[in-house]
């Protein structure tokens, strides 16, 4: 087996997600992408994750807004993290391009956060609400969460699409609203299972205490796997 020598090809280090170690040789932060339609609760999920995990982990957040800095400003206003741990990437009206086709601005933002607030354990990258086809490049994140909600119609899991079908975790949020919008949670679970096979699904309600728990549990598992990987 041939192994490339670091000195002979130093230029191959482009610090994308393909590269699990930092410049100093230590394992870099786990990067999790959060995508999904507008208003389903991505920013609320990021905020809840930060509140639940910030005492035990060093966390930073990158937001990709469509045309404002709303998400970054919401997180700052809510003070879920200090300002130097939150970066906003501008996407030229195309968040799916910035998270999938041309990830250079996002990689730069992650690098800057590592530099100013690092070393980090966890970086959350939120995509501006886009559509059901937006997915993150493997060059940017290690795993992705797709967030939908019960209010957007209980047939979304059945419709599928790359986000619903392939995301590492599907979050179905706002279960507290199900009775009011007439969404059938059991049908959603069944359809999600049919689309996703063994990939996990989490039902959440962020208006209830510790409603984020299924997602924090999943992230803890990912972190355990990540730190067990080769350094």
């Amino acid at each position: 087996m041939h192994r490339d020598h670091d000195e002979a090809f130093p230029e191959r280090r482009t610090y994308s997600a393909a590269d699990p170690v930092r410049r100093d040789g230590r394992r870099r932060a786990l990067r999790i992408g959060l995508g999904g339609p507008v208003g389903t609760g991505k920013t609320a999920t990021v905020a809840a994750l930060c509140r639940a995990l910030r005492d035990e982990l060093s966390i930073a957040v990158v937001t990709n807004d469509i045309y404002t800095r709303e998400d970054a400003e919401f997180l700052l206003r809510e003070a879920v993290l200090p300002a130097e741990r939150i970066a906003a990437v501008e996407t030229g009206a195309c968040p799916h391009t910035a998270i999938r086709d041309d990830i250079s601005a996002n990689l730069g933002a992650v690098e800057d956060l590592e530099e100013t607030a690092g070393p980090l354990d966890l970086v959350l990258v939120e995509s501006g609400g886009d559509n059901l086809t937006a997915t993150f490049s493997k060059g940017l994140v290690d795993a992705q969460i797709f967030v939908i909600d019960v209010a957007g119609g209980d047939d979304i899991p059945r419709k599928g699409g790359p986000g619903v079908t392939t995301a590492d975790l599907l979050v179905i949020n706002k279960t507290d609203l199900a009775p009011y919008v007439g969404s059938d949670l059991e049908a959603m679970a069944r359809d999600a299972k049919a689309q996703r096979g063994h990939l996990p699904v989490a039902f959440t309600s962020l208006t209830t205490d510790d409603g984020i728990k299924p997602v924090t549990d999943w992230i803890r598992e990912r972190l355990t796997d990540w730190s067990a990987g080769p350094a």
Binding site: F9, G92, A93, C94, T97, S104, A105, G108
Partner: protein
Amino acid sequence: MSRAALLVLADGRFPAGGHAHSGGAEPAVAAGRIKDAHSLEDFCRGRLHTAGLVAAALAAATAAGRDPVAVDEAADARTPVLALRITARKLGRQMMRAARATWPSAELDALAAARPQGAHQPVVLGLAARSAGLTPLDAGYAAAYEAVSGPATAAVRLLSLDPFDATAVLARLAPDLDQTATAAAATAARISDEGFDALPAASAPLLDITAQQHATWPVRLFAS
């Protein structure tokens, strides 16, 4: 190396961050200066012969083997507006990441080490062209084309302009692009005799002023 590398470098989908920038088109659309294909063409022609010419000459000079750090200083001197210097360096850093992954070279590594926060984008573009085995003229073409293709794509998104009309604008600018790239390569060749003063310093004051204003807009579609 292969001339076809120029197609890769100049492709609008080359992943170096350009998609998030309008090249001044967003404030021009808001002010009503770009409102249709005709006014888009005027805007692009103006940008090409000012900012575009300077960018093309910087790219050609770097591709010709001039010290990239010195060319970067020349670029800084030719970019009087802070917002545009920040944009040029941000895009330069993104171009550097893409270039090192696509055409790795010791020269790119050296510039990345000398300018960790990014050299001016046309300088990095020129060095990417050099690493790809392309000529100074090729680098001038890539920079000149980018100076007009960015605003044209942005105008399609901002105005819902017919994409065929926008592409026809680019096609009509082809002779101007030839002229700009050729002039850029010619000035780059004069540096050995005349120093960096041979590089053009054409400016478009309205682009400069509106870029600085745009940087303070709270709501906008494009980063610049």
